[in-house]
């Protein structure tokens, strides 16, 4: 691997084995069993949302000196209680007690005070795709595996869903508009080109779409996109950028099929998994795990990450040793890339990612 240039890898592949972790935001209970086949809507793990804590002052509640208060406790650290259950007391003629303010748990006893954890709302983690359960840590993470077509993007609004794939408009550069959205698209995952206004995104909410995949949105739409109740994923970036031909071709060739859309937002480069579309396929012996590390070499299929060919797909024809210069004035190690429909162009290595 030494001396090789290792560019980022983008997966746009018709058949691969997709293995993904599904993780609860907080520890809970994994309900799916190993080797169980699950459907997209199946709940595979459960937990409670972040709980709230309150201090209960036993001395004040019981009307006794602080030193005496702990002796009236009837619960121990870790005990689960329901709202109204007695935690300490009764004490004295008035039979004073300290009761649980809500369903919850005693998490700490500090002198005459009890730290009480108010139970949060239950949450269920869905599989998000039909898959086989191949692993679990028992409390927070479930590992799923499926043979599928895989299309990755660059940004998502953090939502996930599952639905039937439909196209929106004609072509990878089609500008999304409200009049493209009709009742036939209800409940579908829509594949389109670009979007530069919020109205069609909002109108899609009324159609209860299960997701939208576009080449790009303009960056002023990010706040609106993050508020949508369905997943929105983009494949190229921000601005007016058509979807790359590899992704558009693969997605549109699967129209009518069920797809899982995981529009996870970019976290950081240390835990980054790209947003993606997973299109389950029948199991195949030809399928293998996708490669994550692919040295750049002649013949590699690449996508260009920056203007003036942002989003264009091509094939590396040559990797000259000598740096090339660009209109910006920069000198950079570059590849000679044959771009679909444009011919050969020198592109800095830093502006390339390999498509697999």
């Amino acid at each position: 691997m030494k001396s090789a240039y290792l560019p980022p890898v983008l997966h746009v592949t018709p058949m691969t084995i997709v293995r993904r972790d599904r993780t609860l935001p907080v520890p809970g209970t994994v309900t799916a069993r190993l080797n169980e086949r699950v459907q997209a809507v199946d709940v595979i793990a459960e937990a409670e949302t972040a709980p709230r804590h309150v201090f209960l002052d036993l001395a004040r509640g019981l009307g006794v000196p602080a030193k005496e208060a702990p002796s009236h406790l009837v619960r121990q650290k870790g005990d689960r209680v329901e709202a109204g259950d007695t935690i300490a007391g009764p004490v004295g003629m008035a039979r004073r007690t300290v009761r649980a303010p809500a369903d919850g748990r005693v998490v700490a006893i500090e002198g005459h005070r009890v730290l009480f954890e108010v139970r949060g709302e239950p949450i269920g983690l869905r599989a998000g795709m039909p898959a086989l359960v191949v692993g679990s840590d028992g409390t927070q993470t479930v590992t799923l595996e499926v043979t599928a077509a895989l299309v990755q993007g660059v940004w998502g609004n953090g939502k996930q869903d599952f639905g039937v794939i439909r196209t929106l408009g004609s072509g990878p550069g089609a500008r999304m508009q409200t009049d493209m959205l009709d009742i036939n698209l209800r409940g579908a995952v829509l594949i389109g080109g670009t979007c530069d206004q919020a109205a069609p995104l909002h109108q899609a909410t009324e159609l209860m779409v299960r997701g939208i995949v576009l080449g790009s949105i303009t960056s002023d739409l990010i706040p609106a996109a993050q508020r949508l109740n369905y997943p929105l994923m983009i494949t190229e970036g921000f601005g007016v950028l058509p979807m790359n031909s590899a992704a558009y071709g693969l997605l549109t060739s699967n129209v009518g099929r069920d797809v899982a859309i995981d529009a996870r937002p970019p976290a950081d480069r240390y835990s980054y998994q790209r947003p993606e579309i997973i299109i389950p396929q029948p199991p195949s012996r030809q399928a293998d795990f996708p490669e994550e590390i692919i040295p750049l070499k002649e013949g590699a299929r690449v996508r260009i990450l920056r203007a003036p060919f942002h989003g264009a797909v091509g094939v590396v024809r040559d990797l000259p040793n000598k740096a090339a210069d660009f209109p910006s004035g920069l000198l950079a190690r570059s590849a000679n890339v044959e771009i679909e429909g444009l011919g050969n162009r020198m592109i800095p290595l830093a502006n390339l990612e390999v498509i697999q």
Binding site: L6, H53, F55, L115, T218, G237, R269, I293, S328, N351
Partner: protein, 587 residues
């Protein structure tokens, strides 16, 4: 731990700096009894996904050096050859620095807002920490609310300060009670580390309070007395904790640590060490400023007579954190630096795309100008946030930079500028130095390497700094004074050996570059008009000084301080264009 090599025999030094985007390796050797840079190698960092292992990027950068020099550094098992062999393979000393790693979330706990909390904040912002919550004595939130806030903050580190040595103890311990409870409520395996840098007498009690929940590291008090602040010792301990936290999330540090004798220094600390060293070496009346504009953070290091002020802004960088700039700076504050008309929505799209693909470089001129406009605003914003507690600028004006000599700049966008004028103008626009200073560029990102190497071979930093491995952009004279544009500022005379003297008048608003290439020396005589201070200590005071040349030349920046740009966008763009031409960035 490996034994450090015998310093007397040490000759060949290999330094590696692992960044979030690139990993650099630099090979130094002794030539004519002086340390010199022999070769550099650079690879994309492998600290990030999918590898999450820094060692591969380190080996690739080292392999480039092997290819360039023909010197074998790695053996058949890809291990470092050390010490060097008589056949000229391997190295005698290996040092490593790293800024790579995910942002670390920190909760700062302290007593008094203007005292210990302020010192704690300065300590936290001097490294790669993102303070997401602060808790102090003046906090009006209930204790159980504070517990919920700590839990919601999901900290990697809890930094506790407060109490002078031998001073307050009850209040510190009371505050720590709730914090320890919260730490104990984190899920197993997710307990935060604790760094305590408060009242020394309470160290044992703090360790006991967190005993079964979190690992506690003790550091010297950042505020040993009300009057004194001491961040240096605590910063060293904090660096170790940060390195530990990062190596628990990314592989490969163990190997690099083994090669470097047990220690991988934080890049910002190493950068700061060089700046402090320079401030002890150069004239003490002025400070030394270092700026490093990276993809994931901006580092500002200023030192005044050996007193280092180090600030690392993890929210300001030309990569992933770039959209954060829009929270602290307006769109107009970015576009004001552009020499051409680029629409706001294009600039916004560019910012978000660059944050997704920080390693990419501009192919077109407009994008290059946009990248430099962003660099200017990032540096200016970072400098503004870092300057609390610095000596005031001339005449006590807080908006002006105090006299600095030299100003050392690094970072990808500046070091790969297509012409030195781009970097020079970006530094002049954003930092706006005053008086007489030298702009020095670190094109190979050597400064962190030298900072780390200085601990092992003290003379290497000075010798390399004075060699040709750094690019002097030029001496800069930035007169102070006001008035109408076009008003005479000073008469200038530059005498160069074997050439005719250059003489003329500089007027307010002009950016003048006189030819004085790197390596040449000249005699500069400045006779300012009344009302202008050219750096000789008083308004109207004339003087003569020896000046050294640079890649740009001798720069006289008479555009005024603070620099005021025209309100009219068209006129502003014309001026930006003109200044780029004046300084030799554009032809």
């Amino acid at each position: 731990m490996m034994d450090l090599p015998n310093m007397v025999d040490a000759e060949t030094l290999l330094a590696v700096d692992v960044g979030s985007v690139h990993t650099r390796a630099s090979l130094f050797d002794v030539v004519d009894n002086q340390y010199r840079l022999v070769a550099t190698g650079r690879s994309l960092s492998t600290a990030t996904t999918p590898l999450l292992d820094i060692s591969e990027g380190v080996r690739m950068a080292m392999d480039q050096i092997q290819t360039i020099t023909g010197r074998r550094l790695l053996d058949e098992q890809d291990g470092l050859i050390m010490p060097s062999s008589s056949q000229g393979a391997g190295v005698d000393v290996f040092v490593a620095t790293s800024s790579a790693g995910p942002r670390l979330r920190a909760v700062l706990v302290g007593l008094t807002p203007g005292v210990s909390l302020e010192s704690g904040r300065r300590l936290a912002t001097s490294s790669y920490l993102d303070v997401v919550e602060e808790i102090g004595l003046a906090d009006r939130r209930r204790e159980d609310e504070r517990i919920d806030l700590i839990l919601a903050a999901r900290p990697d580190l809890i930094l506790i300060v407060g109490g002078t040595d031998g001073g307050a103890d009850e209040s510190v311990l009371r505050l720590v009670e709730g914090v320890a409870l919260a730490a104990g409520l984190r899920p197993a395996g997710h307990a935060p580390r604790v760094l305590y840098a408060g009242n020394r007498q309470l160290g044992a009690a703090i360790v006991e309070r967190f005993a079964d929940q979190s690992s506690v590291s003790l550091a010297p008090n950042v505020r040993p007395s009300l009057e004194n602040e001491d961040l240096t010792s605590a910063r060293n301990r904090m660096a170790e904790v940060i390195a530990d936290l990062r190596s628990s999330k990314i592989s490969g540090f163990d190997l690099v640590r083994q090669w470097s004798g047990g220690y991988v220094m934080l890049t910002a600390d190493a950068f700061g060490r060089v700046i402090r060293h320079l401030s002890q070496t150069y004239e003490p009346r002025r400070g030394v400023l270092g700026v490093d504009l990276g993809a994931s953070q901006t580092t500002i290091a200023a030192a005044f007579g050996g007193d280092l002020r180090l600030t690392v802004r993890t929210d300001l960088g030309l990569g992933a954190p770039l959209p954060s700039l829009l929270r602290t700076a307006s769109m107009e504050s970015i576009t004001r630096w552009l020499p051409s008309d680029i629409a706001d929505d294009v600039v916004r799209d560019y910012i978000f795309n660059k944050s997704l693909q920080p390693q990419t470089i501009p192919m077109e001129k407009d994008e290059l100008h946009l990248e430099f406009a962003l660099a200017r605003q990032l540096l200016q914003t970072a400098l503004g946030l870092a300057r609390s507690g610095w000596p005031k600028g001339k005449n006590g004006r807080g908006s002006l930079l105090p006299p600095m000599e030299p100003i050392l700049a690094g970072g990808g966008v500046l070091s790969r500028a297509p012409r030195p004028g781009y970097a020079a103008l970006a530094l002049l626009d954003s930092l706006q130095p005053t008086g007489i200073t030298t702009l020095v560029l670190d094109p190979y990102g050597l400064t962190p390497a030298l900072g780390a190497a200085a601990a092992v071979i003290p003379m290497v930093a000075v010798q390399v700094l004075e060699s040709g491995s750094y690019v002097s952009l030029g001496t800069v004279v930035s007169p102070l004074g006001g008035g109408r544009t076009g008003r005479p500022v000073a008469r200038v005379k530059l005498e160069r050996e074997g050439q005719a003297a250059l003489e003329g008048e500089v007027r307010l608003g002009q950016l003048v570059v006189l030819p004085l290439p790197q390596g040449e020396v000249g005699r500069l005589t400045l006779r300012p008009e009344r009302g202008f201070d050219v750096g000789f200590g008083a308004y109207g005071k004339a003087g003569t000084l020896k000046v050294t040349g640079g890649a740009v030349g001798l720069i006289i920046d008479a555009r005024g301080r603070p620099l005021a740009l025209p309100k009219d966008a068209g006129r502003r763009r014309e001026l930006n264009q003109k200044w780029l031409i004046d300084i030799g960035a554009l032809q």
